[in-house]
C-alpha cells in the first residue's frame, strides 16, 4: 500500500507576522519557514503506517519554488521514502499557488502514482484555506475524511475508519480506499528527525516534475488586492483584586 503525502512550505508557526508597508502581502524576508504543522502530522501518520507494516511506501510531494526541496528533505528525514517536487516559480504563500491548482497537480500525480491513501494537512497556516484535501478528493471522485484525530486501516486494506473532530464532538466514518484523509492536531505527535536520518534523507530520491507536464496552470482565480493589519486592540488595564474586576465589568464595561 502506497501513501502520498502533500507537504507545504509555510511560515513557521512561531513567527510574528508583519504586514508589508505597501499592503502587498506579509514580509517573508529572512523569516523562518517550516513544513506546515498539519503536514508534519500527516508525514508522521504515514511513516507510522509503514512501521506498523500496514503500508509499504510513503511518497511526499510539494508544489512550489526551489526552496520547497528543503521541506521535502525534512519529510524524508522523518522517514518518507521518496519525494516529488512540482516545479513552479509561483510562490506558495498567499496569492501564489491556490488550493484548486494544488489539488489539480495532486490529482495528476495520483493518477500516475496510484496511491491507496493520501494523507495531508487540514489547513495551511499561512492562507488558512482548509480546502485542498476536499478538492483533491472531489476531483478524484474519492471519499474524504477530514479533520482526523484517529485513523485505522482495515485488515483487508480496502477501507479506513477515521475519527473526525467536528463542531459538536467526534464523528467516525468508514471510507473505502483509495481515500483522502486530512489531519487535525491530535492525530499524533510528530517525531524529531535524528541526525543520522537527516544524513540518510540527503540520499533519498527527489524527483522534479513541471506543472506543465501535469497540465496545470497557476493563473490566479483569487486576486489579492491588498493585505492589511487587523485593527489592534487598545491595551487595557490591570486590576488588583477580584472586587475591582467585578466593579469594572459591572459599571464600566457593563457586561455582567
Amino acid at each position: 500500500m502506497k501513501i502520498l503525502v502533500p507537504v507545504k512550505r509555510a511560515i513557521d508557526y512561531n513567527v510574528k507576522v508583519r504586514v508589508k508597508a505597501d499592503e502587498s502581502g506579509v514580509d517573508l524576508a529572512n523569516v523562518k519557514m517550516s513544513i506546515n504543522p498539519f503536514d508534519e502530522i500527516a508525514v508522521e501518520e504515514a511513516v507510522r503506517l509503514v512501521e506498523k507494516g500496514v503500508a509499504s511506501e510513503v511518497v511526499v510531494v510539494s508544489i512550489g519554488p526551489a526552496q520547497v526541496q528543503e521541506t521535502l528533505r525534512t519529510a524524508l528525514a522523518m522517514g518518507a521514502d521518496r519525494a516529488i517536487r512540482v516545479q513552479t516559480d509561483v510562490p506558495t504563500d498567499l496569492g501564489g499557488v491556490e488550493p484548486l491548482a494544488v489539488a489539480k497537480c495532486l490529482k495528476a500525480l495520483c493518477d500516475k502514482e496510484q496511491p491507496s491513501l493520501v494523507i495531508m494537512g487540514k489547513q495551511s497556516i499561512d492562507d488558512d484555506s482548509n480546502q485542498t484535501g476536499q478538492m483533491l478528493a472531489a476531483l478524484l471522485g474519492w471519499p474524504q475524511a477530514t479533520f482526523a484525530s484517529e485513523l485505522s486501516i482495515s485488515a483487508t486494506k480496502d477501507s479506513a475508519e477515521v475519527t473526525r473532530e467536528i463542531d459538536g464532538g467526534l464523528e467516525t466514518l468508514a471510507v473505502k480506499l483509495p481515500a483522502v484523509v486530512t489531519t487535525d492536531l491530535r492525530l499524533n505527535e510528530p517525531r524529531y528527525a535524528s541526525l543520522p536520518n537527516i544524513m540518510k534523507a540527503k540520499k533519498k530520491p527527489l524527483d522534479d516534475v513541471s506543472a506543465e507536464e501535469l497540465g496545470v496552470e497557476f493563473k490566479p482565480r483569487l486576486k489579492v488586492l491588498k493585505v492589511t493589519t487587523p485593527p489592534t486592540r487598545q491595551s487595557g488595564i490591570k486590576v488588583d483584586s477580584v472586587d475591582a474586576l467585578i466593579d469594572k465589568l459591572r459599571n464600566e464595561a457593563k457586561v455582567i
Binding site: N130, R186, I237
Partner: protein
C-alpha cells in the same frame, strides 16, 4: 443575481450559523434561496421559510442525507448550483468539509472564512491566524464562499414567508459511511453563540481542576472553552478548543484563565467585545489583548470570583 445558502441544521431545526450566513448573503443580493439537505427535514424547512429575507426554501430530503456525508451532499448541491451567482455556507466544520468539494467540481476557487463583503466579487478574509486581513477579488463566475459567522449578525429567525420547493435526491454513493458520533452533551450555551465565554488553559493543571471554570460558567450562564494545550492534555473534549484551528468566538465577554495567549489562541477570540485575562505571569501575552487583566493565582481568584459575582 441569486444567492444560494446551504443550511446547517439538525433536520428539525435550523442552526444559528445559518442565520449569520443569510445575513452575509443579504449583503450580496436580496434574492436568497436556502437549500436544506437532510432526512425527514420538513420541520427544519418550515423554520427556514420563516427566516427574514429568504425568497425560497429548497428541500432535498432522502435517507442518504441523514448524516452530513460530503460525498452525498455535494451532488445534491451541484444539481442546482449553476442557477446561482454565489453559494454560501457557514465556515463551521460542516461548511468547511462540504464546500471545497462543491467548488472543485464547479472548477471554482473557494473563498474561505470571509469577514466582510466589499462588493459582489470582493471579500475580506483573515489569513496568517488573523494577523493579516486579505482583500481578495474572485475572478470565477460562481463564487463559492464560507462565512465566518462571528463577523455577521444573525438575521431574524421569524417574520419571513418563503416559498417551499422540493428537489429530488441526487445520485448517492456508499464510498463513505457514517459509523458513530460522540456528541458532547452540555446544558451550557453553545460556544460560538454564547454572550459570555470562559476558557481555561494548561494553567488549570487537570480535568478535575477544570471544574472551577465550569462552576463560574454556570453561575453566570457562560459557555466553556479551552486552549489547545488544555484539550491535548485531556482536561476537556476537542470541541472546546478556541483558536486558529478550533472555534472562533466573539462574545460580549471572554474570560481567559490560565492561558498564555499564543497567536493561535488569540486568532479565535480577539474580536470579543471585552476580554478579561487571569494569569499568574504578568508578562503573559494574553494581557496585551485584555481589557482587564488580573495577575493572580487562578486557584485563589476564580473561586472568589464565583462567590462574589452576581
Amino acid at each position: 443575481m441569486t444567492v444560494l445558502v446551504i443550511a446547517e441544521h439538525t433536520h428539525d431545526e435550523i442552526k444559528p450559523s445559518t442565520l449569520n450566513t443569510i445575513s452575509a448573503a443579504a449583503k450580496i443580493s436580496s434574492d436568497i434561496d436556502v437549500l436544506v439537505i437532510g432526512q425527514d427535514c420538513a420541520a427544519a424547512c418550515s423554520a427556514a421559510q420563516k427566516i427574514a429575507g429568504v425568497s425560497k426554501v429548497i428541500k432535498c430530503d432522502h435517507a442518504a442525507y441523514a448524516h452530513n456525508i460530503a460525498e452525498n451532499i455535494t451532488p445534491a448541491v451541484l444539481q442546482i448550483a449553476k442557477n446561482y451567482s454565489h453559494i454560501l455556507a457557514p465556515a463551521s466544520t460542516f461548511g468547511k468539509n462540504v464546500m471545497p468539494r462543491v467548488a472543485a467540481l464547479l472548477d471554482t476557487q473557494q473563498i474561505s472564512d470571509i469577514i466582510s463583503i466589499e462588493n459582489d466579487s470582493t471579500f475580506k478574509r483573515p489569513v496568517y491566524a488573523g494577523n493579516a486581513i486579505a482583500t481578495v477579488e474572485s475572478l470565477d463566475s460562481i463564487k463559492v464562499i464560507t462565512v465566518r459567522t462571528t463577523a455577521f449578525d444573525k438575521v431574524a429567525a421569524e417574520g419571513g414567508n418563503a416559498a417551499l420547493e422540493d428537489l429530488a435526491a441526487a445520485e448517492t454513493t456508499d464510498i463513505s459511511n457514517f459509523v458513530k458520533q460522540e456528541v458532547t452533551v452540555s446544558d451550557r450555551p453553545e460556544l460560538t453563540a454564547a454572550n459570555i465565554v470562559i476558557s481555561g488553559g494548561r494553567g488549570l493543571g487537570s480535568a478535575e481542576n477544570f471544574h472551577i471554570i465550569e462552576k463560574l460558567a454556570d453561575k453566570i450562564g457562560a459557555a466553556v472553552g479551552a486552549s489547545r494545550a488544555a484539550v491535548d492534555a485531556g482536561y476537556v473534549p476537542n470541541d472546546y478548543q478556541v483558536g486558529q484551528t478550533g472555534k472562533v468566538v466573539a462574545p460580549d465577554l471572554y474570560i481567559a484563565v490560565g492561558i498564555s495567549g499564543a497567536i493561535q489562541h488569540l486568532a479565535g477570540m480577539k474580536d470579543s467585545k471585552v476580554i478579561v485575562a487571569i494569569n499568574k505571569d504578568a508578562e503573559a501575552p494574553i494581557f496585551s489583548v485584555a481589557d482587564y487583566g488580573l495577575v493572580a493565582d487562578l486557584f485563589e481568584v476564580v473561586p472568589e470570583l464565583t462567590d462574589k459575582i452576581a
